[in-house]
Amino acid sequence: NAGVTQTPKFRILKIGQSMTLQCTQDMNHNYMYWYRQDPGMGLKLIYYSVGAGITDKGEVPNGYNVSRSTTEDFPLRLELAAPSQTSVYFCASSYSGDPSVGYTGELFFGEGSRLTVL
């Protein structure tokens, strides 16, 4: 299994440009997430989705948009890129099941996408 796959791994954008970070998972997970991680900091939740067609904002959604048309894909759109969006972006997925039978809601992360806005 590939798990969670993110593309591209690296990208340099100019201020004002737009782009989409792609994320796909092959584990049939219902939940998917986008986090960003600035140098030396923890991860901050941008958006998440509990299933196809359902998305919701996390801690830092401004400047980003998401969609979830399929279970597998959860792209993150950056509109009008700004230097403050320079960061490493991680996509993750999880399966939400009954904890009494052992489901932990474990997050599976992709390898990250390093974005620089100049």
Binding site: Y48, F90, G105, E106, F109, G112
Partner: protein, 114 residues
């Protein structure tokens, strides 16, 4: 969401046991406690999860006192490869509907030396 507090950094030597404590004073009744490990340039990786008392797996133990206001991740006999950032997360898991806004703090940077 319950806020967590962890030490910013810890140092240890190979072969020692390392205990990292996380404070979560406002943990809710249906919150689980989960620990993740992150190496540089990689996404976090699940280590262990618990609700109360003690949980042990092949890599770590998690101790949770009766009041659940703190938890301790115990790594037995650490090696150089355990040098990483360790995150404590507190959050419930929604079984149907709702969301799962698991948030990461700044974590604890563990450095293991020879």
């Amino acid at each position: 969401l319950a806020k967590t507090t962890q030490p910013i950094s810890m140092d240890s030597y190979e072969g020692q046991e390392v205990n990292i404590t996380c404070s979560h004073n406002n943990i809710a009744t249906n919150d689980y406690i989960t620990w993740y490990q992150q190496f540089p340039s990689q996404g976090p990786r699940f280590i262990i999860q618990g609700y109360k008392t003690k949980v042990t797996n092949e890599v770590a133990s998690l101790f949770i006192p009766a009041d659940r206001k703190s938890s301790t991740l115990s790594l037995p006999r650490v090696s150089l490869s355990d040098t990483a950032v360790y995150y404590c997360l507190v959050g419930f898991r929604i079984l149907t509907g709702g969301g799962n806004k698991l948030t990461f703090g700044t974590g604890t940077q563990l450095k293991v030396e020879l």
